[in-house]
Symmetry: none
Subunit: 249 residues, 2 copies
DNA sequence: GAATTCCCTGAGAAAACGCTTAGGGGGTGC
DNA sequence: GCACCCCCTAAGCGTTTTCTCAGGGAATTC
């Protein structure tokens, strides 16, 4: 089931209308805090644990609809945590957090069961998107909930990563895609550069704030080029996307 | 829930009709007083604290709907205060106050959870607007509360920062926008130049008092130009905005 | 009706802000 | 190992915005 808030954001809900529950497991507290904040903002109910034992225990009575699980835990290795969690909650989808250099094939095996993974350092948009996908596919939320964002004649498919405007396919790089997704999930709403940076770039990004300007300009070149613009600058405030108003000629 | 006072101001209220509660945390007393006054004027219930320990303690039994938190506190740093506050009140939205130069350093993630921040020196209108936005989105107030101000045929959208009169879009600069917002939030009420200066300009503005006149004239040019005027001067008292009375011709 | 006070607005300087280009470095695939 | 693509830094440029200053006009007072 989905519902649309007054701001136009679409929320995932369980079939009985109660909020989706997510368990976050990571030993770094800053990570669990960051994730909890972001996921709560999605309207989900969050619990967190700092180690494997805590995770299993919390999972037992919290009965989450999805789990975010760091593969590197102090007390036991991610696999055995996973095993125990699965004993409690058989079908719950898991989003793994792994270091970039983690062994690929091991992860590949894990995600075969419909799970997914994200490498650290991640961006919040990425985690949220992956999680939404997992929950959607697991059937914990209404299956009809869509994975396609539409603003005007602009279309973005979160599953296939396809983007098109007015029927023409548009190729975007990974970062461009995430930026556009964030804009399109908040149409007609001014998003500050800080907000964009916090959601779209990884949490450890320490660079210049003008990357946002740069990527906005890339996006405009691909999306607005030669058409009525959809991406607008609010000087001193931020950017927003909205359906193009046909030129009155 | 929203209600409209006799003066025509729209107030945010909690779903049960009680006033919204806000906790203000800053070590400079002049700031907490300034903010407390301004926020009480919004019809909200305010408590303040001067350090992190006090903030956590006050939050515990005051149970605020939103928190204004200075990042620079004497006893502990803003983030650990945040952590403790969040342990007490999980979903409470936070508006951070930060120094301007601190923004670039290490404030990544502040807006990640739907929170927001304002840099010092700030204007009261900005703080109030941001807080209203946070409270609105957090669901502590009635979700139907709108983000659009309307006076006569003049319309101002706080989310998209769009302004239009009689259907025609009007482009305003950031300062013009804030001034108009302040006027429109107090329709049919005379606002003195001093009041306007205190609310719309940052508290450390040391310039000439006639900026207000200047910006009123800018606004008139954009909003009243060629139409029945909505912005009126009360000589010796101030300015007010009200729906235009159709010209009797 | 003259003086005074208050308000409005034009011009212009300084600063802030956003956009764009060029290029380096890292990673990936062939 | 080479070529390609992607991400980001850095710097320069043009534009927009903000504000000061000053002159003139309008309302008010005496």
């Amino acid at each position: 089931m989905t519902t649309t808030s007054p701001q136009g954001r679409t929320e995932l809900l369980r079939p009985d209308g109660s909020p989706v529950r997510v368990l976050v497991v990571d030993d770094e507290q800053s990570i669990t805090e960051l994730l909890s904040m972001a996921l709560r903002y999605e309207g989900w109910q969050i619990r967190s644990a700092g180690d494997g034992a805590g995770a299993v225990q919390t999972a037992r009575d919290f009965r989450p609809d999805a789990i975010v699980l760091d593969m590197m835990l102090p007390d036991m290795d991610g696999l055995s945590v996973l095993g125990r969690l699965r004993r409690e909650l058989q079908d719950v989808p898991v989003l793994f957090l792994t270091a970039k250099d983690a062994v690929e094939d091991r992860i590949a095996g894990l995600t075969a069961g419909g799970d997914d993974y994200v490498t650290k350092p991640f961006s919040l948009e990425e985690v949220v998107a992956r999680l939404r996908g997992l929950i959607r596919r697991s059937g914990a939320a209404d299956r009809r909930s869509e994975s396609v964002l539409v603003v005007g004649d602009l279309t973005l498919d979160e599953d296939s990563h396809e983007v098109s405007r007015g029927g023409d396919g548009i190729h975007l790089t990974a970062t461009e895609f995430e930026l556009l997704r964030f804009l399109m999930r908040n149409p007609r709403r001014v998003l500050s550069k800080a907000q964009i940076l916090d959601r779209v770039w990884s949490y450890d990004f320490g660079g210049q704030a003008n990357v946002v300007e740069l990527y906005i300009s890339y996006l405009r070149r691909k999306i607005d080029a030669g058409r009525e613009p959809m991406i607008h600058t609010r000087r001193g405030a931020g950017y927003l996307i909205k359906p193009a108003v046909p030129a009155v000629t």
